[in-house]
Structure formats: C-alpha cells, structure tokens
C-alpha cells in the first residue's frame, strides 16, 4: 500500500462529521439500533485509521449486510417502500465506512451522502430542513475537498473555506436551474411515507371524532385572498360530504361525489383565493361554497368539492374562485341521489324520528321545517363542549333528548338524521370553519382545531342550502373561533402544551409565531409551490412564451449570462501589474503572441531572448537592448525599486522594439530553434 492511496486523516474527520450531519434529519425515523450501528462503524473506521484494528473480512461484511437487511425487515415489516428503501440506503452509507480503503471508496460515501440529503426531502420540505441541508452540503463538499488535499497541507479549515467558496459560486446557477428546469411529474408512484402520522379529516365520522381533531394545533392549510378577507363566519371551508349513516358513523360515499361536477348556477359576487396545503395523503382539497378552479390537477365533484387527482403527498398550491351565493343543483336530484340523501337505518333512533315527523306535520314547508329545527337547537338548553358525554346505542336520541352536550359533529349528525327522517334530502359537510388572519402576510391560517361539520339540505328550486346548527348553540364559535367558544371550559388545546397557537394571548409569542408562519407561507408558496403551472406563468410573464424549445434556449442564455461574469472573474488574466517591468514584459509578450511567438512554460528571460533573436534576427539590437535592461532592472537589485527614470528607459526601449517588430501576422505556425 502506498502513501497516496490512503484517505487523509483530515478527510476522514470531515467524512465522519458529514455522516452525522446527513443522518441527523433521518434520526426521528431511525430505529435506535441503526444509530448504534453507526457508532460501531465509525469507531471501527477510526481504529483502522489509527492502525489498531484491521478491515473486516468478507465473512463479517456479509454478516453485517445480512443483519442489516433482516433488521430492516423486522423494524419496517417490509423491504419495499420508501421508508425501508431509505433505511437500507442509510445502512449502506454506514457500512461502506468499513471497506473504505482508498479515496475512490470515500467518493462513493460522499456521493451516497448527496443522495441521502435529497431523500430527506421526501419526508419533510420545511424551510428549516432546507437551510440545514445547505450545511450538510457544505460539510460533504468539505470532505470532498479534504480528500484532494495532499499530506502536509491538510488543514480542515481550509477545506471548509474552499467548500464554502465552491457552494457560493454555484448559487447563481442553482437559481437559474430552479427557475427554468422543467418540473417533471413523478416517474413512479412513491408510497407516501408516514401516512398514519398526519392528523386531518377522515372519510368517516362518529360523534366525537372532530373533537379529537380539535385538540391538534397543527396547520391544515393557508389561504391568500385576492380581495379583502371575508368575515370569519363566512369562511366555511368545504372538504367532503358525508352522506351514509349506519346508525353510528357518517361516511363518505363515491355515489355522493362521483359522476362529474354538479350543476352550479352562478349567482352573486365571486371570491378568488389561493390555497397552500401540506401533505395530507388524502385527495380532497378545501374550498368555499360554489367553487371552480382552473388548475389542471383538480377535479370538481358531484357534491361541489375540489378534489386532487391523486392523494396530496407534498405541499401543493392551487387557485380557486368561489361564488358563495350561487345555487347548487337547483334543477333537482336524480333518483339515486335522492335515495342516498334520504337513507337511514331502520330502527335507529326512534325518538328522533318521531320528533322529526311531528315537526313535519307542523311545518309542511321544507324551509320552515329547517327553521324550526334550528330554533329548537337555539331555545333548548344545548351546550357546546369538547368534552361530550359518552353515547350509547341510539346516539342521536341520547344526544338530542338526554345529554344535550356535544360538539359540531353531534349537532350536524343529529340534524341531518332528523331532516332525513322528515323527508328532506340532506347530508353532512365536513371541513373547516374560520381561520386565523396573519396580518403580516395578509393570509388566513386554518388549523386542525378549526375542523367543523355542518349540514346541507336540498330544497326544491333552491338547491342545496347550508345550515349550521352549531351556530344556534355557540355563535361565538362561528364568529370568532374555537378558542373563544371554549373560553369558559378551558379545554382549548389542553393536550398540546407546546402548540404555539395555544399562546395566542401572549403578544410577543404571537408576533414571533405569526412572523415565522409568514416566512413558512412564502416558502411554501414561492419555493415548494413553484410547480409546472406557476413555472409556465413565470415564463409567460417574463418571456412571453411557454414553448419548451424557446424556454430551453432562454434557459441556456440565462445560465450563460449568470455564469459568464463568474467565469470571467475566475479566469481573469493576470491583473494589470503595478510593476512597470512586469507591464512592459506582458505588453511585449502580447505583441509577440500576435506574431505567433510565444514563450514556453517556465522559460526564463535569457532563453526567451535567445530564441527571439533566432526568430527575429533583424531586430537583434532592439531585442538585446530591451532584454538587457529588463534583466538588469528585474534581477540586479535585491529589492526592486520602481523609480520613474528606469521605468522610462524600459518604456522607451520597449517602444523602439515594438516599432521594429513586423506588423503583420506571420503566416503559419512558427517553429523556433532552441
């Protein structure tokens, strides 16, 4: 083994640092044995470097691989899928340490590191992670630089500085590529990671489910309005309808949403807005009543919802326009729909059914019937609470007539059931209500605790109308939000002491929270949300075209425009010297280069002089005069003195030499005799 083939100590230190830095973002997902394995590998590699231990043999390496694969299988339950694949990659990244003999092997580790940096973004795309991964890049590049350093010159700080300069130089190109690189759709479907981990609405709802959701301070989505922000009580964010009732749970059905968009008869003023939502791993999106969208990725459903074509696995932004006063399905319902929206299980909740039929007899008109029901909720002693009592077999009966304590899901469920029992087609709409205005970004934040459920009933001629029984019980919930509604109870986010939203009442914490939220919003909107649609908008706005061929040319030009000054600066010719001797020398050589006469690399002035005299015998006196003066002035004094007199002498000799040089370019290459 020779000295050059070893990995420099400096580089190993950077490499191990880089491994820690690259592993850290994956740490929350890693089983503990992986971290232990890394420590063993790192210790082993350090001992190898200190020549205490040897490299592992083929048997131990095979064993390590086997143990890792089995370990992944045991922890993940599979070897296929994103989590398992990333874990396997991480293990390879660690184990490679043990067969890292030559710089070539270290390169493999470094390139794997770059790849792992990218994989971290599959799980998380926050601005903090992006900033952190810049540091990871820096450390990895420092390891790469350290690998190229010669022994005796291995200064870790120098490697880091070089890496920093390299990264900084790459920033302009990175920006250009960010703006113009085509946003390709995914080449293959990746199983969304950590599906179980996200909180959000689900496709079925029992009384109490929404109350659980209300304990989460996580952000559901952000909205930016084109015009002024509507009042709090108008912000009913629709996500899905729940139309099937089995006696306990309300569920979403494909019959309700499928079969093309519902008939929307536009009325009144429109509201334009843009929604940015995180990965929910569900297809439904959020919109106000009567929404349409021009975004390609969305479809309009039969129940007037916006829905993504595939589950949202990354931060997504979409624009929508809503006409809240428009009529939904005013012409009528077909038989299938009618049956769906009137169905309820036989034998369920007899007291509620009886109450509904009594009301029906009292109010034959549908609209009056609905009003009567709302008044019932208003007048009777119903109580809005996050701590409802447990309900038995006939949930609606017990809630309506016994406990009378409930959350929005109780009220909406009971009212829908009663309406159906009275023969009015109706359904539950699940979504969010309200939101918090962030004055810094002028946008609305909708949290999970804003989750809400309300009722839609179908009236002949008027279509689907929205009614909210919760409003009758706790109007402050609708007008000012959940925190106000639960002021007396003190149950707002009581299980999440660390949630920032809980401390909204403390001014400075709230300011920091809102400012940070604004940064995040811009990050999501402008960086993560810069998808193909926005990219095309960008091209149309700035280049007046969205044709890919022309954009490719523009991209190349843009890259050239950005990189050219950088390249020129990096490769700039020797900057104009302060030394008059050096200036004269450079001037002469530039002129000689036009005559195809060029000094060899490392050629001294006397040798160059001798060669020039052979090539230009006619100019020998001038050449002698200049070179003698040059050599005298440059080398005959221990410290060069730049006095004007000698500079003038040199200049005049250069002048007379240049005058005597042939003007024309000599034809063909010139071979000079030594």
């Amino acid at each position: 083994m020779t000295g050059s083939a070893l990995i420099p100590r400096n580089s190993l230190a950077w490499l191990l640092t880089a491994q820690v830095v690259v592993l850290l973002p994956h740490l929350p997902r890693l089983p503990i044995w992986v971290a232990v394995l890394w420590m063993v590998c790192a210790l082993w590699r350090v001992q190898i470097q200190r020549m205490r231990w040897g490299y592992p043999g083929i048997v131990s390496k095979a064993l390590a691989i086997l143990v890792s694969v089995v370990g992944v299988y045991v922890t993940q339950g599979t070897l296929i899928g994103l989590d398992a694949a990333v874990l396997l990659l991480l293990l390879l990244f660690m184990l490679k340490l043990l067969e890292m003999r030559e710089p070539r092997d270290a390169l493999v580790v470094i390139y794997l590191g770059f790849f792992l940096i990218a994989t971290a973004f599959l799980f998380n795309q926050s601005i903090l992670l992006a900033l952190y991964q810049c540091v990871s890049l820096l450390v990895l590049i420092a390891a790469l630089v350290g690998l190229q350093q010669t022994s005796g010159r291995n200064d870790p700080g120098r490697a880091l500085r070089t890496a920093g300069v390299l990264l900084a130089q790459a920033i302009p190109l990175m920006l250009v590529l960010f703006l113009v690189f085509p946003r390709l759709g995914p080449l293959w479907a990746v199983n969304s990671p950590g599906q179980q981990a996200t909180t959000g609405l689900s496709e079925s709802m029992a009384p109490g489910d929404v109350a659980d959701l209300a304990q989460s301070g996580a952000l559901a989505f952000r909205v930016n309005f084109e015009g002024p922000i509507p009042a709090h009580e108008q912000l009913y964010w629709r996500a899905m309808t729940l139309s099937q009732f089995d006696g306990r749970r309300w569920s979403h059905t494909a019959v309700g949403s499928g079969g093309g968009p519902g008939a929307l008869q536009v009325e009144g003023a429109s509201i334009g807005y843009r929604v940015v939502t995180g990965a929910s791993h569900q297809p439904w999106l959020f919109s106000l009543r009567g929404a349409t969208s021009t975004t390609d990725e969305l479809v309009l459903t039969r129940d007037f919802m916006l829905r993504a074509r595939r589950p949202i696995s990354q931060t997504t932004a979409y624009s929508a326009t809503s006409w809240p006063d428009s009529l939904l399905d005013p012409q009528g319902l077909d038989a299938l729909q009618r049956r769906l929206y009137l169905a309820f299980p036989e034998g369920s909740d007899p007291r509620t059914r009886e109450w509904a039929q009594t009301l029906r007899r009292q109010y034959p008109d549908d609209a009056e019937l609905i009003q009567a029901m709302l008044q019932h909720f208003n007048r009777e002693p119903y109580h809005y609470t996050l701590r409802p009592d447990t309900l038995g077999e006939h949930t609606n009966d017990e809630f309506l007539f016994d406990t009378r304590r409930g959350f929005c899901a109780h009220f909406a469920g009971a009212m829908t059931f009663a309406l159906r029992a009275a023969g009015v087609p109706s359904r539950i709409v699940a979504g969010y209500q309200g939101g918090e205005v962030n004055p810094r970004g002028n946008h609305v934040l909708v949290h999970q605790f804003d989750a809400h459920a309300w009722v839609e009933a179908w009236l002949p001629g008027r279509g689907w109308i929205s009614v909210d029984p919760t409003f009758q019980v706790a109007p402050e919930r609708i007008e000012r939000g959940l925190q106000e509604a639960l002021r007396g109870e003190g149950s707002f986010l009581q299980d999440s002491p660390l949630s920032g939203a809980r401390y909204r009442s403390i001014g400075w914490i709230n300011n920091i929270r809102l400012a940070w939220d604004d940064v995040n919003y811009r990050w999501q909107l402008h960086v993560l949300g810069y998808e193909s649609e926005r990219q095309l908008d960008f091209f149309r706005r700035w280049f007046g075209t969205a044709d890919w061929q022309r954009i490719a040319i523009i991209a190349l030009i843009a890259a050239a425009v950005v990189m050219l000054p950088l390249a020129l600066w990096t490769l700039r010719p020797q900057k104009r010297s302060n030394d008059p001797r050096k200036r004269a020398w450079n001037k002469l050589n530039r002129r000689l280069a036009r005559l195809r006469l060029q000094a060899r690399d490392g050629e001294g002035p006397r040798h160059w002089h001798a060669r020039l005299v052979t090539a230009l015998p006619a100019q020998k006196p001038e050449l002698d005069a200049f070179f003698d003066e040059y050599v005298q002035q440059t080398y005959a004094r221990s410290v060069p003195v730049a006095d004007p007199a000698s500079a003038a002498v040199l200049r005049s000799r250069l002048g007379s030499l240049l005058q005597r040089l042939p003007r024309k370019r000599r034809p063909g290459p010139v071979t000079l005799i030594d």
């Binding site: 010669t150 060899r600 001294g604 050599v631």
Partner: protein, 305 residues
C-alpha cells in the same frame, strides 16, 4: 577572479573530458559550501572528478573506500596509547582533510555512514569525548553505485537531504572518449594539472557567493517552484526549506561562475535538477529513486518570470 574561476573550470575539463556542465555544477557546489553526491556506474570518472577538483582547488585530499566492515573509527580516527609519553595520542582519521571522497558510501553500515554525515553537518567530530574541528573548507564528495545494490544500505531521505547536489556523469560523448583513448589515460592527465587557485582565493570566493544579488522576483520564483512540489499531487512530498536555501545558494554560485553579480531565472533552472532530484519522489513511486523527470516537470510547470 574571473580568470581564477575560468582557469579552474578549464583545468578540470582537461581531465574529465566532455562534461563541462557536470564540472561546472560540481564547482558551483563547492563554492556554495555544499556537499556533492555523485551517482554513476563504475569507471565513469567519479574518482577522477573528485581528485581533479581537489588538485585544482589546492585542497588536501583523502579517499575513504566505504565497505561493509568499515567502522566509524576508521573514518574519524582513534586514540592510541603512546608508551613513551604514557598517554593516549589521537591519530586523526582520513576525515581530517579538506576534500573527502567517500567512495561507494552505500556499501558501509548506517553506523559508519552516519559518522560521516554528522561530520558533514556539524563541521566537527567528537572522538573520545574531545571535539575536534574539521578543516575549513571541508567538502565531501560521496559516490554511489546505482547497480548491484545487494548488500548495500541505501541512504535514507534525511541523509540525502544533506547533500546539496546529486550529479550523474553519464557516458562521455564519442569524441570525448576518442580523445581520452588517443591521449593517454586519466592518471597522466591528473598528474599534469596545476592548482588554479590558492586556499585563500577559494575562501574568498566562497564568502563572495552570498553577496551575489538575488532579487525579489528570483526569491518569488524559487518559492513558486518549492510551493508547486508541496501543493501538487505528483510529488509524494514537497521540498524542505533546506532545499530552498540550497537552491538559492547553488543558483548564486552558478551566477558567480557565469560572472554575473546577480541571479537570473536561468541560473535557478541550471542548478535545479541537481539540487532537487534526489529530494523529490513521485507519488506513484515514493520509495523509488526520484529523478530528473520531476525536475523537468517542475521547470516546465512554473512560470519563470
């Protein structure tokens, strides 16, 4: 002075035919107070060169043939009990001469080698606790035989670094060899040459070498050269500061032989292969011989002006 130097060079050239550049380097090495390592095949004139130099410079001359059983005492000298005066009397060894030819230095054991190399470095020897100064000037020409290396002790890098230059004479040109064959052997020629300078003149010349002007551009050039060997991956390791000092001294001596009061880049280039080639190793072959290829690479790769 000009005549003295020319005369000395001319006289040595008369003995070692057709090798003016090697002769000039050897003289420059003496002027720069450096020691010389000659590496060549047997019979190429190593001994002749050293003897001629001693004679021309008017120096006392001793030859030590290094063998595997040579002991440090054989070089430095020993104390012998004198029965008449009843005390130990020091009998100086061959090292107490002004010019030493250490022939086939790699045949001796490291212990004996280091006795010589320490003397070279210190300018004095310590025998039986008494420190004795070596004559001034003191100049060592060591020879090494590159072939039949079995049973030899190659000089380690640290010892090689103590020689200012390493020369290789090479075969003479055919015309020079013809002249050699026609006009009698080297022995006769050696006897014919006369000292070209006195010891005092040599001393004066040696003292004048550091006075030769080495301007800032020359210092920068030397630094560029040295730095290149340290930064590049071609070299297994870079040149030491001792090497850059030696390069500057040798370039000054060369400028003196060119009868110039200042150093120009060509002087550095002339001495560079002899000064650096034994101190550099290619990184592909760090245990190897080191050589002229690297010196040429260095000269071609570093701008001189």
């Amino acid at each position: 002075m000009r005549d003295v130097l020319n005369g000395a060079l001319h006289a040595v050239d008369q003995v070692l035919l057709g090798k003016p550049h090697a002769v000039k380097l050897a003289v420059a090495c003496i002027l720069a107070r450096g020691h010389l390592l000659i590496e060549d095949l047997p019979g190429m004139g190593k001994t002749t060169l050293s003897q001629a130099l001693a004679r021309v410079m008017g120096l006392s001359y001793q030859r030590i043939q290094f063998t595997s059983d040579l002991l440090p005492g054989d070089i430095l000298g020993t104390s012998v009990f004198d029965r008449n005066s009843a005390e130990f009397v020091f009998h100086p060894g061959p090292i107490f001469a002004e010019l030493i030819l250490a022939d086939e230095i790699n045949r001796a054991t490291p212990k004996s080698q280091s006795a010589l190399l320490e003397a070279m470095e210190e300018g004095q020897v310590t025998v039986d606790g008494a420190t004795r100064p070596l004559p001034d000037p003191f100049f060592v020409i060591a020879t090494q035989n590159p072939v039949s290396q079995s049973g030899t002790f190659a000089l380690p890098e640290s010892q090689l670094d103590r020689f200012l230059m390493r020369l290789s004479l090479g075969y003479p040109s055919l015309s020079a060899e013809k002249a050699l064959l026609l006009r009698g052997g080297r022995r006769a020629r050696l006897d014919n040459i006369e000292p070209a300078m006195t010891r005092e003149q040599l001393h004066m010349l040696q003292q004048a070498v550091p006075e030769i002007t080495a301007s800032e551009p020359i210092i920068d050039y030397i630094l560029r050269l040295v730095n290149r060997t340290r930064e590049s991956q071609v070299c297994a390791w870079g040149l030491s500061p001792r090497a850059s000092l030696g390069l500057l001294a040798a370039a000054r001596a060369w400028a003196m032989l060119e009868h110039r009061g200042y150093v120009i880049p060509e002087d550095v280039q002339a001495v560079l292969p002899a000064v650096v080639s034994h101190r550099l190793r290619a990184s592909e072959d760090p245990a190897g011989h080191g050589g002229g290829g690297l010196a040429q690479w260095l000269l071609n790769g570093v701008p001189a002006v």
